[in-house]
Symmetry: C2
Subunit: 422 residues, 2 copies
């Protein structure tokens, strides 16, 4: 058992609050949250928080982890040329080994920014899942069915395999996007959703061109196309959601679908600013994603939280838009629920021990006028003192405990990239 004491916890039940409590971990779960008590059990380790803040980890609700291999390979370029000349030809070079290395690199970056779970859509899922389990990281894989997949039935095999693979891994159904997936393939995915009563996800209205293209193809929005085929019958949601129509927004709200906003990626690719505040006021629930390092280029949840809020202020021309507390809830609580990980959403007895410790003894956290606001508006990776996933400490004081040497990961990553097209 592990004991955290002499600090504060930030939790979300019933509302966002900071209070002075101990937290004990037994195996993979939190077994006690409350004041110090005399009849405490024997602990394997007691961690003095020294006044620091323990809170639920951030959940990265949309990413392509292994795309770390494309970080800073070709930036400041027009989107379509970048995809055709850099991304796709280099992705064709990816191997299982490469995906394993670049997934591990991405996980390290997650841990250093306080992320404790990811919702990932990419390729080479066997190597991807193994990298997560080996590192001790929690992930939900999302299928990304599209017209380039040679073996459509592989989705169902993966669904069954990865949902009983390891306690750290689960699998959700998804298509890459309407604009890359034929109607019959989308219908096939919807039939799997019906068979397994499972939620479904997709990239949705990331760019204006994509949203307009769907109207041309189908005479209706992608959300309406997917609704017609029963894609969202068991819930799910969309990644990006920059250009939903008024009707789509109502549909998302009425059906409890998740909108996952990826502000850094949308900025860097000049895709647009998702109308998060407007959608939120219409009842749409948001989680937050980094998207891949190819377009972000970081996997830094402090950056994302900051952007989710401040971009809404500029978009709405209202400094009061999208307040910090709401953004924290999106990052910690909503993220867990969007990933179907309800036991990872808060600090409470019985919850899984996916948590972080925020170092408050840094200049960006003082004065302590409001630590929760500091997290969103002045927090940074320097404040991540410790990251725990499933009861295991994977990152502490800048060091990684993931069963691999960081230097080896860097070396292997750099070596692979020397063979890429630039």
């Amino acid at each position: 058992m592990i004991r955290f004491y002499n600090g504060n916890i930030l939790c979300f039940t019933p509302d966002l609050q900071i209070r002075s409590d101990e937290v004990w971990i037994d195996g993979s779960r939190i077994c006690y949250v409350g004041p110090a008590c005399e009849d405490a059990p024997l602990f394997d380790r007691q961690i003095d928080l020294r006044g620091d803040l323990l809170m639920p980890g951030f959940k990265n609700a949309h990413t392509h982890t292994a795309m770390t291999f494309l970080r800073s390979l070709a930036d400041d370029r027009e989107l379509q040329g970048w995809l055709r000349e850099i991304v796709w030809p280099n992705e064709a070079k990816l191997t299982d080994e490469a995906v394993y290395i670049f997934t591990t690199l991405g996980i390290m970056e997650y841990l250093s920014s306080g992320i404790t779970a990811s919702f990932d859509m990419y390729v080479h899922n066997e190597a991807y899942a193994k990298a997560n389990v080996d590192a001790g990281f929690r992930t939900v894989i999302c299928s990304g069915l599209n017209n380039f997949d040679a073996d459509v039935e592989n989705i169902e095999r993966e669904y069954l395999r990865f949902n009983s693979y390891h306690e750290l891994v689960s699998y959700r159904l998804g298509i890459h996007a309407e604009y890359t997936t034929s109607l019959d393939r989308m219908e096939y995915l919807a039939s799997l959703a019906e068979k397994y009563k499972a939620p479904c996800f997709t990239h949705l209205c990331e760019t204006k061109a994509e949203a307009e293209g769907c109207i041309e193809r189908y005479g209706m929005s992608a959300t309406q196309v997917l609704d017609k085929i029963g894609f969202f019958r068991y819930g799910g949601g969309g990644f990006h959601c920059c250009y939903l129509t008024e009707e789509d927004i109502r549909y998302f709200s009425d059906h409890g679908l998740w909108a996952v906003t990826c502000p850094a990626s949308n900025l860097k690719l000049a895709s647009g600013i998702a109308p998060v505040e407007k959608m939120r006021k219409c009842g749409v629930q948001f989680a937050i994603g980094t998207d891949g390092a190819s377009s972000n280029n970081a996997l830094d949840f402090f950056r994302e939280m900051y952007l989710v809020s401040t971009l809404q202020k500029i978009y709405e021309e209202d400094a009061a838009a999208c307040p910090a507390g709401e953004v924290l809830k999106m990052a910690c609580v909503n993220g867990a629920r969007a990933l179907s990980l309800p036991d990872c959403d808060d600090i409470a007895p019985g919850k899984l021990a996916d948590l972080i410790v925020i170092d408050l003894n840094r200049p960006n956290m003082h004065p302590l006028n409001n630590p929760a606001v500091n997290l969103v508006y002045s927090g940074s990776k320097e404040n991540i003192r410790l990251t725990m996933v499933n009861g295991k400490i994977l990152y502490e004081n800048g060091e990684f405990m993931i069963g691999q040497s960081p230097e080896e990961v860097y070396r292997a990553a750099d070596a692979f990239c020397r063979g890429l097209i630039r």
Copy 2:
């Protein structure tokens, strides 16, 4: 003498380049940049860069350092109410002691984000200057003349005093802004500029309301008002510059004036996005500022550099806008020149030793496809391994060497803030 070896340097002469060289420091200046050599002198300290990157420090070209006291005190509020109810009444409580503490806190945050000089406009300049000298930090104070100043002649006294106060301190002439300063006071400032042949600075067109208000008051833009009175005869520039007219932009370009962009503050206060790319293409030279922590809320140059570039991509709807290399140059080279610190602009023999070491052994810096691009798009404070100002190491491996205990600074800062209006 100090020797940095076994790494790479990023420098800007003649163009941005990374090369494998040693750097030696003698006193406050760089005395050698080149390959290792046999007849090296005796060194006081030899620092193994272990492949890391040594580069010029970032220059924070617009800030109000001691405004750290307002960080996260009242956020997500409409601008005018925030100023009237929170900022102004609390500023009235500031003492010399408080400004000293909150300046020190701000300097710590600068050092941890690789900033080696600041251009500051605020109050209690005696305490402010002392805090900088005591910490060993380089600063340029800018006067902020406005209608609330009881003693207008104090500007000239400060100009003379702080320009011969200490090698780390200098002083530039400025008004707070057109909308807070009467024409006769602006003219007085311009007369000082004439007397001392000195550049002049001002907050300029930060908000749309301010730009429109000037047209109503004077029938012309603030830039034109200032031009008419000779304010910019010896150069200088404007802070923010979100709403310059086409004519103003040409004026800035023709007169070699500096535009200092503060993207994070402009976002958080919903002021707007400065058209940096458009102005840059018209020949306007940019430097970058954090503005104060009251509106930012961090003093993090990685955040600023990232925003300078990515906000232009969304504003121009062009992923190629404002490339990373240009932003790095604004941060390091232009910043130094805007602050009239030409000896702080690069890594070269004879230059002042205001430099930083970037820790490349972090996941956000790999793969090393392009380290310069990594700095702008995935860099963070975790990458600041060392910050040196005027030949002295003030920050290394997370520790501050500024003659004061960080814990004491935090404690004093927190204690002062308990008495503030919320």
